[in-house]
């Protein structure tokens, strides 16, 4: 489906009526930005998808509760990096609640209209006094150009901030959709992602906004992996404040346009996470075709995308297609070796049960690139799926062996 939208600067403050800030509250020892505040100038329709991890962080519990209590209305999102506030017991829950309450007091709205998120080390207490001291500073720094600072304030091991935005005509008006995201390790979202925050000035009912977010997330944030790890804090939140006056309703054309642009924004943010994956040097689209079902295609693509042997071979520029076949064979999906195929870029290395090693030098040349596609045909049907991953480098090990020291 072709959607008429164009990209835009401004990230999470690209849409009308949103301001944001990112400041240093001293949570990170490095004094880097670590507190982000996103505020809508009016109550916005709000929707979110959260981690499926059974160890849910305190801010996830509080945000879920607030969305229920407010029936999907929100004025602000408060986010800290440097501490995940996960596995922190009742004390952690109290801090997450206080973050929302203090934000509500300063912004001037009910506490349940504030959503909360945290990211960083698990199991460490989040100091409430630093949040208390930082909040007024963040509020004072709010601006319609503050999306970039907010993007930086939510980073942990991310090598660069992730922002994306798009504008599109809708019902005779123009709307913007913009967002920021963070994430570099512990990335294989299941129904959600690491942190992602999206805003739009479209007007859209809460149930439809939730549906649009789920649709957009499924082939973007939920189709990426860095290391197969689903975190305790993953979430993507979206606020729609209606400031553009444009209305998205169940009418096919406005909803389809909105979801198309939202998906594009989410994809850019999600691919940014993979490009900036811990130790990553290459972005790899893993394309599985010939699957019996779409679910099996996704399962197999995820298995390949998480295979340390595939990821190290790609890191080394080695067109070791046997490792792709070995993963497909163990992925628990229907697979017919005599009809299987492996293509690296557009170079066929294995087809109908036979190697084409004469093409290996050409494939090795292709693998020197930074933006790669590998395709595996399962020979079992006609369904397909694409998942994005990165290579596995010694730098990933270095980052994660030394994360807390």
């Amino acid at each position: 489906m072709a959607v008429a939208f164009s990209t835009l600067a401004g990230g999470v403050t690209a849409a009308q009526g949103f301001r944001a800030a990112g400041i240093s509250a001293g949570i990170k020892a490095s004094k880097a930005l670590d507190l982000a505040l996103i505020v809508s100038d009016r109550p916005a329709a709000a929707a979110a998808v959260f981690t499926t991890n059974r160890a849910q962080a305190a801010p996830v519990l509080v945000s879920r509760e607030h969305l229920t209590r407010s029936s999907g209305a929100a004025r602000a999102i408060i986010v800290n990096s440097g501490c995940a506030n996960a596995c922190t017991g009742d004390e952690g829950l109290a801090v997450a609640r206080e973050m929302a309450e203090e934000t509500a007091r300063i912004v001037g709205c009910p506490a349940e209209q504030v959503l909360v998120a945290s990211t960083g080390v698990i199991g460490v207490a989040l100091p409430p006094e630093k949040i208390r001291a930082g909040l007024p500073i963040a509020f004072g720094a709010l601006s319609a150009g503050g999306g970039g600072d907010a993007a930086r304030a939510i980073m942990t091991t991310d090598p660069f901030p992730k922002e994306a935005a798009a504008k599109l005509p809708l019902g005779g008006k123009e709307i913007a959709i913009g967002g920021i995201a963070k994430g570099s390790g512990m990335i294989e979202p299941q129904m959600a992602t690491m942190l992602g925050f999206v805003t739009t000035d479209a007007s859209i009912p809460v149930p439809l906004l939730q549906r649009a977010l789920r649709e957009a997330v499924d082939d973007t944030f939920n189709a990426i992996t860095v290391d197969g790890e689903c975190s305790t804090n993953d979430c993507v939140m979206i606020l729609a404040n209606g400031a553009s006056g444009a209305i998205v309703d169940e009418d096919q054309s406005t909803y389809a346009s909105f979801v198309g642009a939202l998906t594009a924004v989410c994809r850019e943010l999600a691919l940014g996470i993979v490009r900036g994956g811990e130790g990553a040097t290459k972005l790899v689209a893993v394309n599985v075709t010939g699957a019996a079902t779409a679910a099996e295609a996704r399962t197999c693509a995820k298995a390949i995308a998480n295979s340390p042997l595939v990821k190290t071979a790609i890191h080394g520029g080695d067109p070791n297609w046997g490792r792709l076949i070995a993963v497909a064979g163990r992925a628990g999906v229907q697979f017919e070796l005599s009809r299987a195929a492996v293509t690296i870029g557009t170079i066929v290395l294995f087809e109908d049960g036979r190697p084409h090693d004469e093409n290996a030098p050409q494939a090795a040349e292709y693998l020197k690139g930074k933006d790669l596609t590998v395709s595996v045909g399962l020979g079992a049907g006609s369904a397909s799926s694409t998942v994005w991953t990165c290579d596995l480098s010694a730098e990933y090990v270095r980052i994660n062996a030394d994360y807390r020291t």
Copy 2:
């Protein structure tokens, strides 16, 4: 169950009536040993477990077929390293068959009494002329002390050979059980393992031998992982030639003694594989308790044992217990955060939903060791499982980025 057995030297030739050899047939460019032959001086009862990978290598297909045709009788096992003979089409199948036929001709037995195994790079043709030339040399080198050479001849990236043997009194006689194994990467056997070859001079009917092998493998080879990858060639084979005159039957005491000693031999071989895992510097027993079912305990233990974030933290000596909780939460098993626990060695770091970070320095000290235990309590029941893994080092990446170059 305490079993009265004692360890023994000699590996796969520890049992009476078995000879073995390991020679260089020029399959490896390095001229290292690459062809192993194991021969019983009389037809032996034979059993095996094979990879569940749907891309099964030619030698796996041939060995399965031979076990069926011979109703579980075998005289010899021929094994090459340096080439997996997997994904090699009909030509590869013909080479695997020829390996068995040539071995049978030299040993003097029907072709179906020869089992075949290969290990090395997937998708590369195995040169039949090298096997043909090497076989008579291997046959000439057979000796009752040849287990060590055979252990070396089946190595690929293994940093050291894996041998184990045990002797035990049985029905007034004494039997020996001994074996060799190989494997370093692409290791997460599912119903089987990388290559393992076990011999015994006990007399045991084929169905009982198969049952004993499955029981022994379940908590040994099937409870290890290096990188979560199940190969196309995995197998464990056992030959029982009855040379000791001791009989194992369904009678409780002889069968239980036999399985106990067989399990001990398999465990020593399996832990050798993990200790020699690609890039490994530490052996880690992952112990999951408090699970709702034994299957969930195993699932969760495997998820932890394959987690790159857990494995890198252990490599770095970081008692980052939050990563263990995060994996338990995403493993798809019943899990109750408020009753969960993490213990590193015997040091409690998280219990009943609360961190005990005061113990982190002591845990960091413990993690400097080479032989570690980490335990996670799920707070959901009373079932448990132990899985063995190794740490993830930059050396793993180096080995696998450059495997074929």
